[in-house]
């Protein structure tokens, strides 16, 4: 099995400093967060520009070039609902270190992101959802299958799709947690890869509890087959947990200094 893939979530327009940096085309705050995440061990960086309806194309291509140029063509997840912005980002993306990931498609309005991935030989995160939160796993798997069939009809390699079962917040949807883990298991049993916005689960919990909840969830998810997640790589406990899980699963060879790598 391959090592767990860490997609760093910290360049996100929900953060005021990033939103401002995007608006002003100010490289510094973006590069700073990219650096921190890479040093903490991120494999991919998510670049979230929000809906960016007005100048999405320009922002996306500016940011992709900026980050890749500074950090040796680090692979990126291009994160927006704006299809034209994704296309603009893909045009300037350098594939030397890995394919771009389109974040994200779903079985609803955003299903055409699958087509975009197929045409551009990109990877894509496929949300097993249509409108809002899927009712149960039957619905999740139905969406998963729908997305998979569309992708395969277009010639997209199933390995290039990361299925997202939609992690749900513990505080408020505690009774849904096991279901999400089971969904990961079901998708993995089909031989497919998975990912998800892990930090969702600890939303609203006290700051000091979030690393604990995130770590426990990722460990349980990995045991169910989770192959990657969109996380905060600067969370030391979480990264230590992921590395330990990789050792236990035999994805990396143990050495006393394995946490240093």
């Amino acid at each position: 099995m391959s090592r767990f893939i860490v997609i760093g979530e910290r360049i996100h327009c929900i953060s005021p400093s990033i939103r401002r940096a995007l608006a002003e085309r100010n490289p510094q705050p973006i590069l700073q967060r990219a650096k921190e995440q890479l040093e903490a061990g991120a494999d991919y960086l998510d670049f979230n520009i929000g809906p960016a309806e007005r100048d999405g194309e320009e922002i996306m291509s500016w940011g992709v070039e900026l980050i890749q140029k500074e950090f040796d063509n680090v692979p990126l997840a291009l994160d927006t609902v704006n299809k034209k912005a994704i296309e603009a980002g893909l045009k300037v993306y350098n594939r030397e270190k890995g394919k771009p990931i389109i974040n994200s498609a779903d079985a609803g309005d955003r299903i055409e992101m699958i087509d975009l991935a197929a045409t551009n030989d990109a990877m894509v995160i496929a949300l097993c959802a249509k409108e809002g939160i899927p009712r149960d796993n039957e619905e999740r798997i139905a969406y998963c299958t729908e997305l998979l069939e569309r992708a395969m009809a277009l010639g997209l390699d199933p390995n290039d799709i990361l299925f997202d079962p939609l992690f749900l917040v513990i505080k408020g949807m505690q009774e849904k947690q096991v279901e999400v883990l089971e969904a990961i298991g079901m998708i993995s049993e089909m031989g497919l890869r998975t990912t998800g916005g892990l930090s969702n689960i600890s939303n609203g919990a006290p700051k000091e509890l979030r690393p604990i909840l995130d770590s426990a969830t990722v460990a349980m998810g990995i045991q169910c087959g989770l192959t990657s997640a969109i996380v905060n790589p600067c969370d030391k406990r979480l990264m230590e947990t992921i590395k330990s899980c990789d050792v236990i699963k035999g994805n990396i060879l143990y050495a006393d200094s394995f946490l240093d790598l």
Binding site: R3, N251, I252, L253, A255, S257
Partner: protein, 315 residues
């Protein structure tokens, strides 16, 4: 249906490491497939063979070898020159048996002089092997590294107990190649590489001796260890294990009773020299097919045989 040959592609690649300087410098490693699997991809540099010589007269070696080297065996420089001219291996391994604290206990300075003289009188790359006494080796290699500055020599080897001094002097100050030695312990092999790297020695200046044994002496464990190391290096793209592997085969195969016992002692085992060669050849051939990038041998007949073996498999 058309037959389609399946090809095993790996994401990882073994580092290419250069030994020696000048026109006879060699490279080892560089493959991105299992050993000799040219049908899968790039097998990198041809595996290399080094010949063992000593800093002292080879008292414990078998009669026929003492005979071959009778004119030169008292002088390591002449011995090295003779081996280079007569047998032309890929490199020479000078082993400081005379530095052993339980033997002649030669001083590091004296050994450094010898190493320097040998390095200056041959064109082939030089591997310097220590005594296996970790304390002595650490001072020995410091002196040797200084004396052969600029010769890009391979220091065999740094272990968990002395990697700091051997790595610092050999790999950092004088820019030689350092062999990280573990004894058939896959996790320690990785750990030692990490530690040497954290010390500041670049990965491309490190070679591994992951432990060696003669056939019949826990050999399956050696083979499975090397196999797992190679699969992690290639399949998991584990950069901490992508160093080429050098194995001092002769250090093991000529020490076991099957090669020490004379024909008088064990008539049913047959000719002692043939036995020794057989053990050396079968051990080396097996290790090369599982992933060794360089082997050190003693008997000229073994060198010739293994050379032919490599030639056939890489043709």
């Amino acid at each position: 249906m058309v037959f389609r040959e399946s090809v095993k592609k790996f994401t990882g690649k073994i580092n290419e490491v250069e030994m020696g300087v000048g026109e006879r410098a060699i490279k080892i490693g560089g493959e991105n497939v299992m050993p000799f699997y040219s049908f899968d991809g790039d097998i990198g540099n041809r595996p290399r063979i080094g010949m063992e010589i000593l800093d002292v007269y080879p008292e414990s070696w078998i009669g026929s070898l003492k005979e071959i080297y009778s004119d030169v065996a008292n002088n390591p420089v002449e011995w090295a020159k003779y081996v280079e001219k007569k047998f032309n291996p890929d490199f020479i391994c000078l082993r400081f048996e005379g530095a052993d604290p339980n033997g002649l206990d030669k001083s590091p300075e004296e050994c450094a002089e010898i190493a320097k003289a040998v390095a200056e009188n041959i064109k082939l790359p030089l591997v310097v092997a220590g005594t296996n006494n970790h304390g002595k080796d650490s001072v020995l290699f410091e002196e040797v590294a200084k004396a052969v500055d600029g010769k890009n020599v391979v220091l065999l080897s740094a272990v968990e107990e002395n990697y700091k001094s051997v790595g610092a002097a050999g790999g950092m100050v004088y820019k030689h190649k350092v062999v990280a030695e573990s004894s058939v312990d896959i996790n320690l092999a990785k750990q030692l590489n990490i530690l040497i790297n954290q010390l500041g020695v670049k990965s491309e200046n490190v070679i591994m001796n992951v432990g060696c044994a003669a056939v019949g002496y826990g050999f399956e464990y050696v083979v499975s260890t090397i196999d797992r190391i190679r699969l992690a290096a290639l399949g998991q793209n584990d950069k901490t294990l992508q160093m080429p592997i050098i194995l001092p085969v002769s250090f093991e195969t000529w020490e076991i009773k099957e090669s020490i016992a004379t024909e008088e002692q064990m008539p049913e085992w047959g000719n002692q020299e043939e036995r020794g060669i057989g053990l050396e050849v079968s051990t080396a051939a097996s290790l090369l097919t599982v992933g060794a990038n360089a082997v050190i041998l003693r008997h000229p007949k073994s060198v010739e045989t293994i050379n032919g073996f490599i030639r056939e498999l890489t043709a």
